[in-house]
Structures are given as C-alpha cells and as structure tokens.
Homo-oligomer: 190 residues x 2
C-alpha cells in the first residue's frame, strides 16, 4: 500500500530500502487549516488525494493572490526546498482534504539520493525554471509596473543593456509608452 506521491517521485530509481527511508504522511486536514506560511522555513510538498487546496501570496496591502488550486491528483509545492529557505507561498485547505505530505528534510534526503544515483540534473534545471515562472506569475498578479521593472533590472541587469526598451516593456506586459513614462517618473524621484 504505497503512497501515490512516493510512486510519483521514486519511480524506478530508488531501491525499496532507500524508498523506505522517505516518510510520507497521509493526513486528513480540515477546511481552513493553513499548511504553510510564506516567510517561514520548512517548505513542504503536498499531494492532494481528496479535497481542494490553494497556494497563494499576500501582498503588502494584505491582498491575497492565488497562485494555484490543487484538487484530487494534483501536487502543490513552491519548490523552495533549500535548507532553512523561507517558503514563498501560503498553502491552505479550501475543503476538508486528504493529503500526502512530505516534510522538507525528506525532500532534501530525496535530492541527495538522486544525486548519488546521478539522476540527470535536468530535474534541477526544470525545478529552477518552475521557480522562475512562479515568481513571474506572482509579480504579474501582485506588483505594479514600476516594481516589476525594478525587479527586472535587478534580476537581469545584462539583458537591460542588450535589448531595446520596447522589448523590456513587452516582457513586463505593458506598452513601450507606459514603460517610458515610468522611467521618467523614476528620474523625477531624484
């Protein structure tokens, strides 16, 4: 009676002994229970067997931005699994749910096992990509254009130098005119 999440993650790669060192708790969770808080360390992964879960951020104005819903068969995680790294997302139950939960230390253990197996670091590449896309979505939903522009400059300083402004605008999701006006607003601040 193996957990679905275990099957998903260890499929074919790990020996039964190795697999048995990973704990996956199946837990009933009541509607409204908060499973993870942004900013607190100990990011986990949740597999939804029954019920409905959401992952979201809260911006500085206190407004919630839902990053994803997860119903039966979906997995939720913000992929922030470096030791002591603060979670990026809040996760809570919208309905009474039955979840499989992997704690962070088990995820880290899993990653180490994969490393010794030389599982392709393609997996790391993909998880990195997911984190980047995740951040982009959160910014698109919760940050104004100025903030997104400042973040872009900070994250990709080299790109800023190499592409025309209109392409940066196109990346930020605004017109070239809007970006131009934002830049002049930035100058006036000084």
């Amino acid at each position: 009676m193996k957990s679905i999440l275990k099957k998903l993650i260890t499929n074919g790669i790990l020996s039964p002994h190795e697999i048995s060192s990973i704990q996956i708790k199946e837990t009933k969770i009541n509607k409204g229970t908060i499973l993870q808080r942004a900013g607190e360390p100990g990011g986990r992964a949740f597999y939804v067997k029954e019920g409905l879960v959401r992952a979201y951020t809260i911006d500085e104005k206190g407004k919630e931005h839902i990053f994803m819903f997860a119903s039966e068969g979906w997995m939720v995680s913000d992929f922030e699994w470096r030791e002591n790294a603060p979670a990026l997302l809040f996760v809570d139950c919208i309905e009474d749910s039955l979840l499989e939960i992997i704690e962070q230390n088990d995820i880290i253990k899993l990653n180490r096992l994969f490393e010794t197996k030389q599982v392709p670091n393609q997996i790391n590449q993909l998880m990195n990509r997911i984190r980047v896309l995740q951040k982009r979505i959160i910014l698109l939903m919760s940050a104004d254009t100025l903030t997104r522009y400042e973040d872009f400059i900070e994250t990709y300083p080299d790109i800023v130098q190499r592409v025309p402004q209109r392409m940066i605008a196109s990346y930020l999701g605004v017109t070239p005119e809007a970006l131009s006006k934002i830049k002049s607003k930035m100058l006036k601040k000084h």
Copy 2:
C-alpha cells in the same frame, strides 16, 4: 568534445552508445533569424552558448508578448514536444548567436530512451507544470480579464463549482468586483 546541452540532458543516465544516437547541432545564427514559429509543428529546444534569444507570442492584434529572454547558458523551449504538436511560441535571435539545437524527433527519441530507463516520471510532472505556468503567464500578459475567465472555466470547470468567486478573481488577478461586472456583461450578451 561533448555539447553542453547533451551533458545537461543525458547526464549519468544514458550509455555512450545511446547518447551518440542523439544529434545536437551547434549552429551560428544571425540576429533577427526566426528559429521557431508559433502554430507550426516541430518544436525544438535551444541552448544558448553565445548571444541572446527571445521567446514570445503574438496576440490577435499583432502585439508581441515576450515570454522569456535567454542569454549565455540558458535554454529556451516551449516544451511542446508531442509529435506534430504546433509550437506555442515564436523564438528568434536578438543578437548573432551560437546555439545548440535539438530537433523534435531527437527530443522524442530521448524521451523514449528515458522511458525504457524508467527515469522517474517526475520529469513529466515537472514539464507539465511548466507548460501550465507558461500558459498562465502568456494569458496574464496578452489576454483581457474576460478571456482569462472563460479560459479558466474551460480549463478548470470543477474548480469553478467548488470555490467562491472572489477566489477565482484572485486567481485571475482582478478584484471580486471586476469579476462580478464581467459576469453580468457575459449575461447581457445572450
């Protein structure tokens, strides 16, 4: 003298013989060259050794929305690799570039090799997730709220039934009031 992309993808899993069956062309591409067109089959993967590449969509008004830039060391692909599936993104060179390119049939071959190796389908899970996030970003940048709402209903009909409207609004990136007004606008259409 192995390609970086090959190392990235096959690392530790495939035998030299298997690896040799995968072709990765290293190619110089001129600034402005279009590498892939949305809608056309034959999605590929590009690894940027030198230069700068962008991936983008074009909406029905002809406006470009840049999904990502890729400079030295980055990989670009829309992960649409099912046989004959139309590409989702345009890809072109912003600067003269040196790229490693894997054609679609080689990607498919690679996936089959991984399957026989029982590489964890975690990889498929992650790629799926990436496709979902990718679509979300494109919609956030290029589609108005009504379109995003209609897409949400179509994509997650069960979720619509199970969560309050304000959460759907929060997922779509608008206020509950705005979503309410959009719904009444939809009713007037009929």
